[in-house]
Symmetry: C2
Subunit: 346 residues, 2 copies
DNA sequence: ACAAAAAATGTGCTCGAACACACTTAAACA
DNA sequence: TGTTTAAGTGTGTTCGAGCACATTTTTTGT
């Protein structure tokens, strides 16, 4: 009953050769109705599952997957992705899968396009892209499509029918989650939504989070929370924010839409008389430090590592095990405070 | 450079036969120092990784893994585990791994022991156990050890040097997480820790959570929160809790250590004048309903599904890919509120 | 009715690791 | 030096799916 049936078993049971069974299983035609019936009869009784190991052994093809993401040296936000990709490399090396990482400068569309050129020259079987630039991505994806190179995207959700799959988070919802937490920490007072980013290329990302945050308060019709948006950019973060602080003495909560919450926290740290709630993103070391100090109240975990890992692993499993690539994988919006943080940092 | 080297490649490069290479790779001896040197020289230059697919193909052994957990019909807490196990079954069926689930009555040590007998008769290669009964588990594990059957445990952490591996959550920490959230929701008032359980076999489980919860308030020396513990058991839950409510008009927060938060929420639902914060465990449907209604504020996700999945998958990967079985896997303590719940229910 | 074409079926090899077994070379001892 | 024993080395088969190709059977056309 538990037996693993092989093609040979089926052949024997149906009284035909394994070649015929193989033709039936793969609809390769050239099978007489008599033989088809006999084989189908057997197939209906037993529960045949092809041995994936044997199937893959024959396939000596080396799959090449290229990952395209911003240089973590320029924006450390992407650092966890490298770990996720490394995990996939280790896991699938033994199956003859080569995974290469290529970095581009997140500030430069030219760099993005150029790195894509490099990747195309490598003629990979699939690519995983962090599609920071909307227009350019659509063009590039079209090119990949023509070359029959499979494309998966992660982190930034790009609209467009040529984009077939995406791994990431629902940013709007994550903004809502932040809002719901803020609503819990403070009972009234002004709230600031702060976008801090060097590249400003994450505009859509940040706006989506802001929308979600504001929507929460709008929908619930919760009064007493005037919300202001602030855009800060290096190197004026400190000066601009300090002026803002002075001009808004009733500020009670800050929602930072990027992983730079620590920048704000470090400014607020010396001001002991201020009691301002901070909610930010990502478990980068500096953020976690402030979380432990009690200066940052909540962090939302975007789990870039898992995003990247899933991005490649779905591709690999598609090639190796013929699994479908899910259209969208939305990772959970993990709520992190000082008490559960340690379980998420990896 | 990307090439996948095979034993044949190494043999050719070292000028020996694949048999000799095989003996070197597996330290099977009977190799002359000359040949050993030549082969090692090649191995140092190239990066040989045996092809796992080919290795497993030869191994026609069918692995049998038995999972032992309480009957979900008696305690629906265990229902998600079944899904996790099912996932593992589907994933590993093609590799010749048979995973069987056996249920026992969580109220009866006799049933536990009896089911173990049944499992032993099946002579599996490994078992995954939900070790509800401390003493009995230790005895059983010893028996498995003698029979050379690998044992993994999940959900309940049992001390004992014969227990080699465990998948679960840090319950003390999860109590702390609950406390930190409670401390956020309410500013003062009485807090009740409620243990609701039919079987009462989860005593250790619940106590650990209570300890963590109390510790948090003790450590932080937060005043104004008298904490009372309440043990409720079917069928007296409603009556006993109602009396408690009347006797404690200043009750502001409730922490339920089991998945039965909905029982308390449903009692509080009609009492519109009461504003009591509820924190509970597990994303069972009824709990999520009350979460959506705003009656339950937070749920802590114990992720039984993943616990069970990881419990078996680590065993399977040990057999198939010779991976080590981690001593302890502590799953993150996911904080769930109404805004992010949808991403966790599966 | 018989050859040619078409359809159906079976055979045999491949993939890479693992191991049994056959074989060759070297050492040990009389 | 010849013979036994041990040490070292190579060959060949297995696992199951997949596919190319050889072979057999059936159909078609004259």
């Amino acid at each position: 009953m538990d037996k693993k049936y092989t093609i040979k078993d089926i052949a024997k049971m149906a009284g035909v050769s394994k070649g015929t069974v193989d033709r039936v299983l793969h609809n390769r035609g050239k099978v007489s109705p008599t033989a088809l019936d006999k084989i189908n009869e057997v197939l209906n009784v037993i529960d045949y599952e092809p041995n994936l190991i044997a199937r893959n052994l024959k396939n000596t093809k080396v799959y090449r997957i290229c990952v395209l993401l911003p240089d973590p040296e320029i924006d450390p936000y992407w650092l966890p992705c490298v770990n996720g990709i490394q995990e996939a490399i280790t896991e699938f090396k033994a199956y003859g899968v080569i995974i290469e990482t290529h970095y581009f400068n997140p500030e430069s569309t030219k760099s993005f396009l150029h790195t894509n050129e490099t990747i195309i020259k490598k003629s990979p079987d699939a690519v995983l892209i962090a599609p920071l630039f909307h227009k350019e991505t659509l063009g590039i994806v079209k090119q990949y499509d023509e070359l029959n190179i499979m494309v998966n995207t992660f982190n930034n959700q790009i609209e467009g029918e040529s984009i077939k799959s995406f791994v990431g988070q629902d940013l709007n919802k994550s903004g809502r989650v932040a809002a719901s937490l803020m609503n819990l920490i403070i009972t009234e007072g002004q709230i600031a939504i702060i976008h801090i980013d060097e590249s400003l290329k994450n505009a859509v990302h940040m706006q989506e989070k802001e929308k979600g945050f504001r929507n929460y308060f709008d929908e619930k019709k919760i009064p007493g929370f005037p919300i202001t948006t602030l855009k800060l950019k290096h190197p004026n973060v400190e000066s601009k924010f300090s002026t803002f602080l002075e001009e808004n003495p009733n500020l009670k909560g800050i929602f930072i839409t990027t992983s730079k919450a620590y920048q704000i926290a470090s400014i607020l740290a010396p001001l002991k008389n201020k009691k301002i709630a901070i909610i930010g993103y990502d478990l980068v070391e500096k953020n976690v430090n402030f979380l432990n100090q009690g200066l940052v109240h909540f962090l939302i975990h975007q789990n870039q590592k898992r995003q990247a890992y899933l991005g490649v692993s779905t591709l690999v499993e598609h090639f190796l095990f013929r699994k479908d690539i899910p259209e969208t994988i939305l990772l959970p919006i993990d709520i992190i405070n000082v008490e559960n943080a340690s379980f998420y940092v990896s």
